[in-house]
Symmetry: C3
């Protein structure tokens, strides 16, 4: 790269798309890992994936493999998947069950909290308590597990409050994953976030989505009265059911600096995200009515969720490099629903998988185009892309503010 | 790389092959893109590929995707394939037909000249005339399309004159592509050009080529009288037919600084580039005689052509990195020739495809060898490799002269 | 890399594993090539692979392809596989037979010593004696061929003496390769060497190996008397047979700075490295007794060998990058043994191939783990990993001492 990062940041013009190097430059990507991914809470997975003590899954947090495990007292812990002896990975599978964590190389053995409990032939004088697995921070809200690998973490309190109020009625923690799918996108992760943060492309790209949702009609004078009336009717109904209705609105805008949580009404006659808007699985949680709208939540930089009365879909991004991102989609249904009897997996995933594939084509086309030497920032269309600006402004703030106080590895407590 | 580029250029010794880093160093490759590929005219494709208004093909000009399109008035335009909104590629296929150029992402719509004609929800105050697709320069001669992506271009006049005089009788603009083939060569592009610029390797490597052409016999005292007599006889005949015979000779040397155009007689009894030297397709253009020799033309850095009375072959290089190059070969025959009736594709391509494959083996072997830490420039054998020296001298001149005045992107006109 | 190499070397703490960048950083890898691989003797292959004049194989010495060839007088020569004309590789196959070395590009022709003997159209005044193939240094001991590509080489004398004394009775030079296998390991080469230099992992990882060898019982008070008695009994027997017994011991430690050679007794009842410890091929060399223990030898950085009375296994490492290594295993049996009659290839390779595959899993797990940002050096367990410390201390000495006097390419003699 010919420009320094600082000069590059100067090129950012709020209300315009990013300069090209932000989507391609390895140095920018490294800075993103340090300034954005490591210091932020990243969505790792679901509490319902690891219901029993010893159940674990691994999560790639910017190149750091993290073991998320349930301990004997039912807590969740996040441990670095790196033996304190000579560094071997301990858990080699994406998920599993372990009574103890035993390194396959020399059988150093850790308990579920990460404490070292056995190391053959280790001299007595070595202090085992200094050799526990390194720990990452972990927070769980509404069955969603977030991990932060550095010592000082962003305040999770407001997210816990908002996500809890919105999502607890869906009981995602007591659900099960009906299906998972990982999309490999040879594209910068920000192109995926930007794509998700605007519906300017929906009328032409997502005809099915546009039909069952109001999203593409929000600025239409024809539709405004109906949308208002329908939203207000839903608010009254949901409030009577005891749901938190503090953020019932159709806009999906961010309510916090790096997170959002709102509930959005469907047009009458549609109740869930399926091709025809009709239910595809049994009611979740304590719901008794199918018409619960879409609970929508998300956190920068790697997570968003849509939850309806019968199922929920979560998206998790893992950036692999400047032009490579993995996007995992999980579809959740209630835990006691029986596949083939209560729901058909193909029907549960049809709607969102289609949206994802439609977006994939758009994102890859953009990834190709922004590689051009003649690409330069273009003007965002503010009526439809103000949320892209929100993301880019937040992003640029993170990139240009010192992370020096928050990302010191030394600040992480060792397991003892 | 331990040496600076300037130090490296100092290592060049005219009459010797290049130092190893020229074939491997990413910094050299980047400099080549800026000093050679972007500022020069690159062969992009054939006018006959896009006969109708709205027909287009895309061309990768050093990482810049260029749309070459025929407009309603029959002109050819070269447009950067990057939407002025958020940079998406507009044309995703290698060729196609479009009434208008519509970005697949948000449907911004451009006419065939690149002017922006529609952008949904765009505020009135935004000046659409500033948001046309960026244009590249384009020249066409004898049906061959050349593109230059920077503002100030090398003078194309002499090439247009020489190529026109040589090639217009072949009517390549009114021909059709009988077959295309892309060879992937894990080798530096200069190894391919060097290979093409000498026939020192022909006696052992291209026995078929050596048999039907005089190229390997030019310095043989035994053959000189026949070659002179045959060349002179052809000149007289072709002149009587009204052909330009200003550069009828057997040497294939460059006649301009970065281009060449000559006509070469076949040994008696051979009339085209086929295994037995006999015709493989109907006569092209206005020819009435099969014995028209080989029209040979080329431009540094990415193009050469051989045209005989019945078909023509063009080669286009696209360098993908220091050790990766795509070489596309197109075989052209007259437009109204019917495949399977008037010509057999296998027979049309047999001769040149064989030469290409033989060269591929040699080039890959050289690419392996020059990677050695002990490789150093070797002496060119001037009787047979003087044209390699011509290329290397030209190349080094471009690399060491400032391109600063010619490659400013700002100098390119925006479409309006 | 944020740290300079010098700062990184400062981070090394003897008795602990290496800091993470040593296993991943391209700059460290480049320094290793210059400080370790080029200046050291690398095992290239076996004399028995090229018994006749003109037989050759090629060896990738840190990116330099080397032709190892037998000359007409039976000598072995190591030549750089790069034509002195324009650098093409000359031998394109991994092994073959050549009366003369003829460059495939322009047929420049060299004799088996590398002297240029023909170059078509070369002017008389060019001094062909200056254009022979560049030579590398070569040493052979006990049929093992070592190559060094720089001018000043480490003293090979002690290795020749020790390897000769230990291995000459096995007659590897007169053997044949029963089978070769190349393992591709996406791991740093040092992880492979470290793995081979300790048996701390053997009890859990190599149960078959642990059963037929004493290696895992050396520090067991229960086993010490038997091991001593058995070793002494073998020493007496082998001495009576005329074998050199100067280094009969069970420890496999390095006896020189960068090499080792010892003979180790098997537990009674086992005589070779096979699943049941029983012979899998005819006796090699002049042996008349199957119970000859394991001759074990090795050199830093790329070679080790185990030889028993009936077969031998050699390992050769070729580092391809910071996280990629090729490991070739060769299994040798006596030359006149007939496959399917005197030996079964599957049985010859079963034991060591299994150990190699078990190690492969461990090494890849470690390669994954040391990528973590939180990986840091861990304490070696000295009772079992002192030989890892030996390797790391040697390695760090090479990395921090100037190789400036030994790795000048100019010091290599040209063939004349």
């Amino acid at each position: 790269m010919s420009k320094s990062l600082d000069d590059l940041y100067e090129d950012y013009r709020p209300g315009w798309s990013l300069p090209g190097p932000f989507y391609a430059d390895p140095e920018v990507f490294e800075a993103e890992v340090e300034q954005i991914f490591r210091p932020m809470w990243q969505f790792a997975g679901h509490a319902c994936e690891i219901p029993e003590p010893g159940d674990y899954f691994t999560f790639d947090a910017s190149g750091d493999s993290i073991i998320v495990i349930r301990t004997d007292d039912g807590d969740l812990k996040a441990l670095f998947n790196t033996c304190r002896h000579r560094g071997s990975a301990i858990c080699r599978e994406a998920r599993g069950h372990a009574k103890r964590l035993v390194c396959p190389y020399h059988n150093w053995t850790y308990d579920k909290d990460g404490a070292l409990i056995a190391a053959r032939a280790m001299p007595e004088e070595v202090d085992k308590s200094m050799l526990g697995l390194h720990r990452a921070n972990l927070r769980m809200v509404a069955g969603l597990i977030f991990v932060c690998t550095v010592g000082t973490t962003p305040d999770f309190g407001p997210v816990a409050a908002a996500f809890g109020a919105l999502l607890d009625p869906h009981d995602l923690g007591g659900a099960k994953i009906a299906h998972s799918m990982t999309y490999q996108l040879p594209a910068n992760w920000k192109l995926i976030v930007e794509n998700h943060r605007e519906c300017y492309h929906c009328p032409s790209a997502h005809k099915e989505y546009a039909r069952i949702h109001y999203d593409t009609r929000l600025s239409s004078d024809t539709w405004k009265p109906e949308i208002s009336a329908r939203t207000e009717a839903c608010r009254v109904k949901w409030s009577a059911m005891g749901l938190d209705t503090g953020n019932v609105n159709p806009t999906s805008s961010f309510t916090g600096a790096w997170w959002r949580a709102n509930r959005t009404a469907f047009p009458s006659g549609h109740v869930t995200e399926s091709p025809d808007g009709q239910p595809v699985a049994p009611l979740m949680g304590q719901f008794t009515d199918t018409d619960m709208g879409t609970a929508r939540a998300g956190t920068y930089p790697n997570f968003w969720l849509h939850a309806t009365s019968d199922h929920a879909t979560t998206m998790r991004l893992i950036p692999m490099g400047p032009d490579s991102t993995l996007m995992r989609a999980d579809w959740l249904v209630r835990d006691d629903a029986v596949e083939g009897v209560d729901y058909d997996v193909d029907k549960v995933i049809a709607f969102t998988d289609r949206v994802n594939r439609e977006d994939r084509e758009l994102i890859l086309g953009q990834a190709d185009g922004v590689r051009s030497s003649r690409y330069g920032p273009g003007p965002l269309v503010m009526d439809d892309e103000q949320r892209v600006k929100h993301f880019l402004d937040w992003y640029m703030g993170k990139m240009t503010s010192p992370a020096s106080l928050t990302d010191r590895p030394s600040a992480i407590a060792r397991s003892s």
